[in-house]
Amino acid sequence: MTHATTPDSAVDPTTVDPSGAGPARSAPDRPARRSTLVTRTWAQRQAKVGVVLTALIVLIAVIGPLLLPWATGYTATGFADRPFQDTGLFGTDNLGRDVLSRFLAGGTSLLLYSVLATALGLFLGMLFGMVAAYIGGWLDALIMRSNDVLLAIPQLVFALLAITVLGPQPWVLVAVIAITHAPRIARVTRAATLDVIGEDYIRAAEMYAVPRRRILFREVLPNITGPLAVEAGLRLTYSIGAIASLSFLGLGMQPPAADWGLMINENRIALSLQPWGVMLPVLAIAVLTIGTNLIADSIARASASANVGEK
């Protein structure tokens, strides 16, 4: 297969006069054509669509809180003291709060916590996955069997249990989602790492007695970014869904906070009278998850085509 993967070896500069200035090929024109994971991902149309959709919702969530027409967070007792307000573009909810204001303010928490949960889950999963694959033996068995135990518990049930015990606080939410993601990420990382540690450059590093931590982070990690990026994208989608669901069930953000999941719950009784209170957050969550999923899928395709020809 070597002739398929090294099309340039016809002009093998190893046979070039050693006293000469070097290879005949000009170096500068190569980096321009370098095909990386990023360029290959961006080359797909669905990646562009995904980025646009995600960016739209992220913009709403980030800039929205700065543009509020009305206050968002008062409770039933604050109802009487509320300042006079017009019926906004999308009407009000059962407490007379402006739906648009609450919608604009309600994305931040969802986005922040899902990104945090994904990042934490990714870090934990990556660490355990790489260590399990690299050290092997009983440690591998221990980590992977513990993984299986965690995987056996349904994500939502585990979250319900933890939140019931520890209370509905943001850090519990983030930790619980991260812990449920970690085993899945660990599996993917372990499989990817096993592929890489079979390569001779890892053996070479071993031979030079490079510290193990450095082998993992400098030699292994850069070579498994492809599958990890795919998994991160996928897990982010799941995090958004899970956190929105928990808020909907009343276990995430607590009233009177403005939050998309919570809004769906509060406004669902009036769905036929005032659909906007439900429809706006539902649409936003749907667009966001579709967007992140499209991006994850594009990365997956890009990294699948990347593995050919890297060796």
Binding site: T2, V11, D12, D17, G22, Y201, M207
Partner: protein, 598 residues
């Protein structure tokens, strides 16, 4: 090949189903060619760069033409075009491939036919033997079924019984047993040579008219290769097939081919009868290629490949000036005397590394049994063995990459710990190991500068600037040049990567270099320039070397001593001349007898 047609077919002596008076018969009767490739041009779809530029080839029945060239020369592309196939990213840009098939009266223009017609021709009239039999056989299908499948798809015979009979006969023809038990075996139950013969049987099952062989013996041991080559040669002649044999190995060509065509960067630079091309090559590239082939006698001094390549070029320039056509080849021939083994830099004497009673097993399987080996200062020992003999295991044990061996390995009289992590810094620096595959020994995500600095960072006492300086010097020493410091392995050819890997072994100024099959993944000319490099490095630095290889022909070019490893046992060990001229072991004799030569 419809059923109706094969029923009224007449049988040739070998039993091939043919319509009498087919295009093939017509062509053969007229003494014409069965395969005609005319001005074939193949270009990349992106950019339209031509990778095959105007190739002309003609083959008669029963003739074997070797298409020789190095990686990237376009030889496989031409071979696949013969089947009417273009790899993705490539497109037919001009010229034609015509086959005169024996199943119809009209010649088939492979470059113009539709996918459906091509499918009917492939595997029946034109067949293909791929490089790696282990990858080309379906591991989940019994070998008999795989051959039978070809017959079934092309509707051979009228009944299952008839097809099974054909499977049996073709198995016999390639020299394999034809009983039911054998046909029911899985591919993994066969050796590499047997697998490749199943591949040959599949290709010949339909009595093809044209056969394309893509380096079918590259992955095989010499003794297996000899048998497979003989089978191919015999099958080609008895089945009157026109065979296109794609290879980079000139020694194989000399054994098997009637004619040779040499390709260079998509162009045919030379074509002619095998004897003529190999004895009196006309093109400069062919001469360079021949100068790179290691021979057992050590006459073709590949250790001085670069100098000789320049001599060939200079002679050609001379010839062009004086227009004397003889001076070029004469200059090359003038060096035809055998050389003594490359002069050792220092008088070999003190044992540097002593391997005593080393054994290693993986579970039940004993890989090394009580191996003794001595490496002396300034001396190169060639460790010879076929695949599975344990040569890589032994070299890795010495390098400290494996730690579950028993016995003792000492360096300068000091016992070495099993794994590198427990060896001293000085020991780690002095003993360096170069991996077989340059495609996996360098981290694709790091620049050469980063990869090459790792051994220095681990030794610790140099500043970043000094490290960069040492890396630059090492890159110069392997004749890559310092411009490579910021390049990544993906931008490099196989030869360049192997040079970089050698440079990584050199940055710490080692005394012992263990080279594990470092040239087996490379083209002959690249191999020759790497051997040349190693020879010069030994002279410059007085390195001791353990050169592990399966290619006995390299012995006289690199080593003063040869040790032969067979199934984990050293069966022969001594000075190169002694082992090669008077082998003390039948295994060594067998190896020497089977080696193909020019």
């Amino acid at each position: 090949m419809s059923r109706a047609r094969s029923a009224e077919a007449t049988l040739t002596p070998t039993g091939a189903p043919m319509v009498d008076g087919s295009a093939w018969h017509e062509q053969v009767a007229a003494g014409g060619d069965v395969l005609e490739i005319e001005d074939l041009r193949i270009a990349t779809t992106a950019g339209g760069r031509e990778v095959v530029r105007g190739v002309d080839l003609h083959l008669r029945q029963g003739e074997l033409l070797a298409l020789v060239g190095e990686s990237g020369s376009g030889k496989t592309t031409v071979g696949l075009a013969t089947l009417g196939h273009f790899r993705s990213g490539l497109t037919h840009a001009g010229g034609s491939v015509t086959i005169h098939p024996s199943n119809t009266t009209a010649p088939a223009l492979m470059t113009a036919l539709g996918e459906e017609s091509l499918r009917r021709l492939r595997g029946s009239r034109v067949s293909y033997i791929p490089q790696d039999p282990a990858l080309s056989l379906n591991p989940a299908m019994r070998v008999g079924e795989q051959i039978g499948e070809v017959l079934e798809i092309h509707e051979f015979g009228s009944s299952e019984a008839e097809r099974i009979e054909r499977v049996r006969s073709v198995l016999r023809e390639v020299g394999l047993p034809d009983d039911d038990a054998y046909r029911r075996r899985w591919p993994h139950q066969l050796s590499g040579g047997q697998q490749q013969r199943i591949g040959i049987a599949m290709a010949f099952a339909m009595y093809p008219d044209v056969l394309v062989l893509d380096e079918p013996t590259t992955g095989l041991d010499v003794s297996t290769q000899a048998v497979v080559l003989e089978t191919i040669r015999e099958m080609t002649v008895t089945n009157r097939v026109a065979a296109l044999y794609i290879t980079h190995d000139l020694a194989v060509v000399a054994e098997i081919a009637d004619r040779v065509a040499v390709m260079l960067q998509g162009e045919l630079v030379e074509e002619g009868p095998t004897d003529e091309v190999l004895r009196a090559p006309r093109h400069r590239y062919t001469r360079t290629l021949l100068a790179a082939v290691p021979d057992l006698a050590g006459r073709n001094r590949i250790g001085e490949f670069e100098a000789r390549r320049r001599a060939v070029e200079a002679a050609e320039a001379d010839a062009a000036r004086t227009s004397d056509p003889d001076s070029g080849p004469a200059a090359a021939r003038g060096e035809d005397r055998p050389v003594a083994a490359p002069a050792p830099a220092a008088a070999p004497g003190d044992p540097l590394i002593a391997v005593r009673d080393v054994s290693l097993s993986y579970g039940e399987k004993q890989v090394l049994s009580s191996v003794d080996l001595t490496l002396r200062a300034g001396e190169c020992t060639l460790l010879l063995g076929e695949s599975g003999s344990g040569k890589t295991t032994l070299s890795r044990s010495i390098a400290g990459l494996l730690d579950h061996w028993s016995g003792s390995i000492s360096y300068q009289g000091t016992e070495l710990a099993p794994s590198t992590r427990r060896r001293s810094l000085a020991q780690r620096q002095d003993i360096q190991y170069v991996f077989q595959s340059p495609f996996s020994s360098l981290n694709p995500r790091r620049t050469l500068g980063q990869s090459l600095a790792v051994p220095l960072e681990m030794s610790g006492d140099l500043s970043a600037a000094e490290r960069t300086q040492r890396v630059r010097e090492a890159l110069d020493a392997v004749r890559l040049g310092r411009a490579f410091i910021d390049r990544r392995p993906g931008d490099l050819s196989g030869g360049e990567r192997q040079r970089a890997a050698i440079a990584r072994a050199l940055v710490n100024m080692p005394r012992v270099l263990i080279c594990d099959e470092i040239t087996s993944a490379l083209d002959v000319s690249v191999q020759a320039s790497i051997i040349d490099l190693l020879t010069r490095l030994r002279e410059e630095r007085g390195l001791s070397m353990l050169f592990v290889t399966h290619n006995i022909a390299l012995a006289r070019h690199v080593a003063e001593r040869v040790a032969v490893l067979d199934h984990g046992v050293i069966v022969d060990d001594g000075p190169t001349d002694q082992v090669l001229t008077a082998p003390s072991n039948t295994y060594t004799e067998e190896l020497l007898a089977n080696i193909p030569s020019l």
